[in-house]
């Protein structure tokens, strides 16, 4: 199985980093990364499956125009990963299909 990210991080000076949990795995990202960038840097695995055919997707347009990067962040589903900056302690999980309607949701 492909385990390496499809992207290579250029090391160029020092950067502030934050700690994250991605699908239960502790990792870190640059403090200025979007969640989508952090996910792509972390690995090649699908970050969601679609609601219609359960097909795998990863972040696509990186500018808020496609919604393929929807993930669950700190328990809140349907978060647009490419429009949200990472924060220390953030817990990001793969989103399987549509957000369940019965899910308690405070937004």
């Amino acid at each position: 199985m492909m385990t390496d990210s499809r992207f290579f991080r250029r090391e160029n000076g020092t950067y502030d980093t934050v700690c994250l949990q991605i699908d239960g795995v502790q990792t870190h990202a640059r403090a200025t990364d979007t969640v989508a960038a952090a996910l792509l840097a972390f690995g090649p695995a699908p970050t969601r499956t679609t609601g219609i055919s359960q097909s795998p997707r990863t972040p696509f347009c990186m500018m808020g125009a496609c919604f393929d990067c929807l993930v669950t962040i700190d328990g809140r589903p349907n978060q647009q990963a490419c429009m949200i900056t990472v924060q220390d302690g953030m817990c990001i999980t793969h989103q399987a299909g549509f957000r369940p309607l019965e899910e308690p949701h405070d937004g």
């Binding site: 992207f7 840097a41 090649p44």
Partner: protein, 458 residues
């Protein structure tokens, strides 16, 4: 919050130039932008990168003075604000950190820029297939370079990204170009005008030289793209000059130019026009950016694709026209003040007609084969749309009702254009008479709780 004279939506080249011009002219400006820092996509993350990422080239650093100029007492820059509605009066509604606000000004300038043209082909939804511009955003915003990537498609941005990857030491494994010799022949008649700005031609030729010097394998007149997963990698299939090729790669980065982001302008009721050469819709406007809706103005690529330099000039032109409107000055004064910016814009856009013809959209992108997904959200294929048209659908809204195309979270941003092309082709109508799908607010996702808790600010 005091009522601003002008609300600008989008802090790209047009929005930033307009904000600085209006602020220097004494207007109180509210600049709303959905990114954490100013720059738009072309100068994305410029305030943090400054001139450190030399592989991005000198054009990128043109964003530095534009972003610096936003540090002005008359400018309130609201970063991370997602505008989801504009209505009459005009009032702008936006979401910021989970809370929505409404703000009113007599003038609103929409400078929301462009998005990449969706490029549907079999397998374009697979992990590892991305728009090339998305990979460039990752280079700018996170210092992430694509590994083992094939660049596929057409357009000046594709070459720029190839050069940036070469300069960064991670060259693309191949370039698969849809450009045909016929396209270049059709472009030749636009060359005399393009020569008005020789610098741009030289820059283009220099890019091609670098790609050649790096010995990147290039396939031209390519078509019939297909991506599949094979042994965890992508198998990218295409035909070039009568021969079918397969490339194994981690990433396929596709690109067919950019199109105006029109959800906001459409939902605000601004009439739009079809641009035949650029194969896209854009809001109708006069040379200063006025639209048919009182108080609503457009500038930059969201008004029609002209590129970053022209967008910056147009931002200045429109801001000066707005200053005249606010101060009750005759519009002719704006055209005098704008003489320099108009020159600059005209020079910057001199090459556009040449580029539009030379890197024309291949027809198969507009009307892809039956098994290709058009609507990524609802997973509707081209075949399903053809069947629905065959069954009697004659308008875009019929197709939406019959198939749910365009009704997912992206609100049609990835399928509107293909859908319009397919309906026009199959019903043998010009695309301008097919029209474009309605865009309705909220044009960005916003929770009901957020709308319910809304506080109006005047």
């Amino acid at each position: 919050m005091a009522k601003p004279d002008l609300i600008i939506i989008g802090a790209g080249p047009a929005g930033m130039a307009a904000a600085a011009t209006a602020a220097n002219g004494g207007l109180k400006v509210h600049l709303l932008d959905d990114q954490p820092a100013a720059g738009g996509q072309v100068y994305r993350n410029i305030t943090r990168n400054q001139d450190r990422l030399t592989h991005l080239g000198p054009e990128y650093t043109k964003g530095i003075p534009l972003a610096d100029a936003l540090d002005h007492p008359n400018i309130t820059h609201v970063a991370g604000a997602a505008v989801w509605r504009i209505d009459d009066t005009p009032t702008v509604w936006y979401s910021l950190h989970g809370k929505s606000h409404a703000i009113h000004a007599d003038h609103v300038l929409i400078a929301t820029g462009a998005q990449e043209r969706p490029v549907p082909f079999a397998g374009w939804t697979l992990p590892g297939v991305m728009p090339a511009g998305a990979a460039q955003i990752l280079m700018k915003s996170s210092d992430l370079l694509p590994k083992d990537a094939v660049l596929a498609g057409s357009g000046p941005l594709l070459y720029l990204i190839a050069v940036q990857m070469i300069e960064a030491g991670q060259p693309p494994v191949a370039m698969v170009e849809t450009q045909t010799p016929q396209m270049m022949m059709r472009a030749v008649r636009h060359l005399p005008r393009a020569l008005l700005d020789r610098q741009q031609i030289f820059k283009g030729l220099a890019m091609l030289r670098k790609i050649r010097a790096a010995r990147i394998p290039r396939y031209t007149a390519a078509h019939s793209f297909k991506a599949q997963i094979q042994d965890d990698l992508l198998d990218f299939e295409f035909t070039s000059k009568g021969e079918t090729h397969h490339l194994k790669c981690a990433l396929v980065l596709s690109h067919q130019g950019i199109i105006p982001a029109t959800h906001l302008t459409r939902s605000a009721g601004i009439p739009h026009k079809w641009h035949k050469a650029q194969q896209c819709w854009h809001p109708d406007h006069d040379t200063e950016g006025r639209t048919a809706r009182p108080g609503l103005w457009v500038a930059g690529d969201s008004a029609g694709i002209l590129g970053a330099d022209a967008a910056r000039a147009q931002g200045v032109i429109t801001a000066n026209a707005i200053i005249c409107a606010v101060r009750g000055l005759r519009p002719s004064i704006a055209s005098h003040v704008n003489a320099h910016a108009i020159n600059h814009r005209n020079r910057a856009q001199a090459i556009r007609a040449f580029l539009d013809a030379a890197y024309a959209v291949p027809p198969e992108i507009n009307t892809p084969p039956d098994d290709t997904i058009l609507c990524r959200c609802e997973e509707i294929t081209a075949g399903t749309i053809r069947q629905a048209i065959h069954d009697g659908a004659t308008e875009l809204r019929h197709l939406k009702t019959a198939t749910r195309i365009g009704m997912g979270p992206c609100q049609g941003r990835q399928c509107d254009l293909s859908l319009t092309h397919m309906l026009a082709a199959q019903t043998q109508r010009p695309i301008a008479t097919v029209g474009m799908p309605r865009a309705r607010s909220p044009v960005r996702p916003v929770s009901l709780g957020e709308i319910a808790a809304l506080e109006q600010t005047d």
